[in-house]
Structures are given as structure tokens and as C-alpha cells.
Amino acid sequence: MALDVLIVDDSAAIRKILQRVLRQSDLPVGAIVEAGDGVEALAALKQHKVGLILSDINMPNMDGLQLLSTVRADDTWKNVPILMITTEGSQNKVLEAVNLGASGYVRKPFTAEQIKEKLVGLV
């Protein structure tokens, strides 16, 4: 069964890179939906039933940690795996993301292999 994925990042470049990584992975990826911040992501979640979310942390309007918290508090989406992919590498941010329910954490810069390894463990 195809896995629909939501990519949330304010950088169009990173969204393109992650699309490519997903398409080149062995995962049965279906539709890939993109959002530029947490607000757009929540709107997209209401339109699409996704099985995986890849999200940045530092974004305008609603950041990745607020998105994570909102998703985990909602019965419809609370079990969707969320992989945080971000430049934020401080221990505090990692712990905050884990405490809020992040399924995994990858720090930028990343290799395609690092993302693929994390995804295999999550899906």
C-alpha cells in the first residue's frame, strides 16, 4: 500500500531534496504533499491522509515544535510518525522535540542515506 508523505519546510530547496530522497528510497511512497510552515501543514493534513511527516523546526507562522505538539494532541494524526529534519542541533531542542513526540531527528546537513535509514526504522 502506497505511503503518502507530508514534507514541511520553508526552504523550497530542502523540499525538493527530500522529494528526491523519498522517490529514490525503497519505501512505497505515494503522493508527496508540501507545506512551507506549520499552518500550511495543518491545512494539508485536513485534505490528505498521510502516513509520514518530515518537518523542519525553524519556520515562520508556526514552527515545527508547535506543529508536532498540535499533531500529537489530535486523535486523527497522533500516531503518524514525524521525523524532524533541522539545522537546530542543540541538545535542548532535540530533547524538546523528543518530549513532544518526535519519532526521529536528523540534523542538517544530511546525506540521503541518513534519511533513508531513519525512514526504514519509522515506517
Binding site: 520553508d10 526552504s11 523550497a12 530547496a13 530542502i14 525538493k16 531534496i17 528526491r20 525553524n58 515562520p60 539545522t87 537546530e88 542541533g89 542543540s90 535542548n92 542538517k108 546537513p109 544530511f110 546525506t111
Partner: protein, 178 residues
């Protein structure tokens, strides 16, 4: 609060830039020059300049600059598609490179000076322009080489706590604290 040494900032810039180029682009950059410069203006000729702001107990600016041809080369490697001229994808790629390089510098600096915030990067592209910062501090400037092209990454930081004015004309109360 510990002062930040120019040599430490230069070391962090070198490490972050090499790491981001190597990991994300598969390109090797070599350090051509490291200096402390009072001159805050940027080239004056043209090309691409990306600027990003730091806020917190220390405030300042980071910048990444290169030629249009180097920017296209960066975008080609980052996005896996060819770019003959500077267009939206190239600007996005340079913005993200700036975010990753200076974001990693920020993360390392946070271990010394505490939490900081990073702004969204702004990319400027054109001919015959200059950029100028009103900060009075020196810039740590590191020049890298790749394939006959140069890339300049620089950072200017000043304490927001020890000084009465973080920026000329702005008292501490107007600056962001986290």
C-alpha cells in the same frame, strides 16, 4: 559570559562550511584566507550575497557570498538539476546553504554563549551593488576556494549584554532576549 574569540568563530565557519559542502553537495572546499576585517561592505561588484541575522545574548549578522557561476554550481549539486543562470531555484539553494552553514555555526556558538535565534536568510543578486552593516565590530572573514571560484563566509557578533548599546542608536531594551 565568555567572550567569543575571532579564531574560534573562524574555526566554526571553516568546519560548518566544509561539512555542509561535503555532505550536501559532495564538493570539497579549501580555505584560501582567514582574516579579521573592520570593513563591513560587501564586494561592490555584484554576484550573490545571502544575509542572516543572529539574536540573543549576542547579536549580529552572518553572510555567504559567491559569483553567479558558483551559485549555479552549488544549486546543481544541491538540487541535482542543471542551472545555466541565476533563477529562483538558485536563490533558494543559496538561502538554504546559508541557513545550514550559519545555523551550524550558531549551534556550536550556543555551547559557549547560550541560546540564540537565527533569522530567515535574505539573498541579494545583482550587479554593482554593495552591502553595509552598521555594526561597529570587526568581521571574521573566511574565504574558500572550489574549482577556481571563491566563496566568502563571514560573521560579525557583538555582546548584547555587556554593552549599553547593541547597535548604534539602539539600547539593550530594544534588542531581543531569549
Amino acid at each position: 559570559m565568555e567572550a567569543i574569540q575571532h579564531e574560534k568563530v573562524a574555526e566554526l565557519i571553516k568546519r560548518a562550511t566544509s561539512d555542509v559542502f561535503g555532505t550536501m553537495l559532495g564538493l570539497e572546499v579549501s580555505v584560501a584566507d582567514t582574516k579579521l576585517s573592520a570593513e563591513s561592505s560587501n564586494n561592490g561588484g555584484g554576484g550573490l550575497v545571502a544575509l542572516i541575522g543572529f539574536a540573543g545574548p549576542w547579536v549580529g549578522t552572518g553572510s555567504f557570498s559567491c559569483s553567479p557561476s558558483m551559485a549555479c554550481r552549488v544549486a546543481d549539486a544541491l538540487l541535482g538539476t542543471e542551472h545555466a543562470a541565476v533563477e529562483e531555484d538558485v536563490l533558494d539553494a543559496i538561502a538554504e546553504m546559508t541557513n545550514m552553514i550559519l545555523g551550524n555555526v550558531k549551534t556550536e556558538l550556543e555551547e559557549i554563549i547560550g541560546p540564540m535565534l537565527l533569522s530567515v536568510p535574505t539573498v541579494i543578486f545583482g550587479r554593482n551593488f554593495s552591502t553595509r552593516s552598521s555594526m561597529r565590530q570587526n568581521w571574521t572573514v573566511v574565504t574558500f576556494e572550489h574549482g577556481g571560484e571563491t566563496i566568502e563566509v563571514k560573521v560579525c557578533l557583538t555582546s548584547n549584554v555587556d554593552q549599553k548599546e547593541a547597535r548604534p542608536g539602539f539600547k539593550m531594551g530594544y534588542s531581543l532576549h531569549v
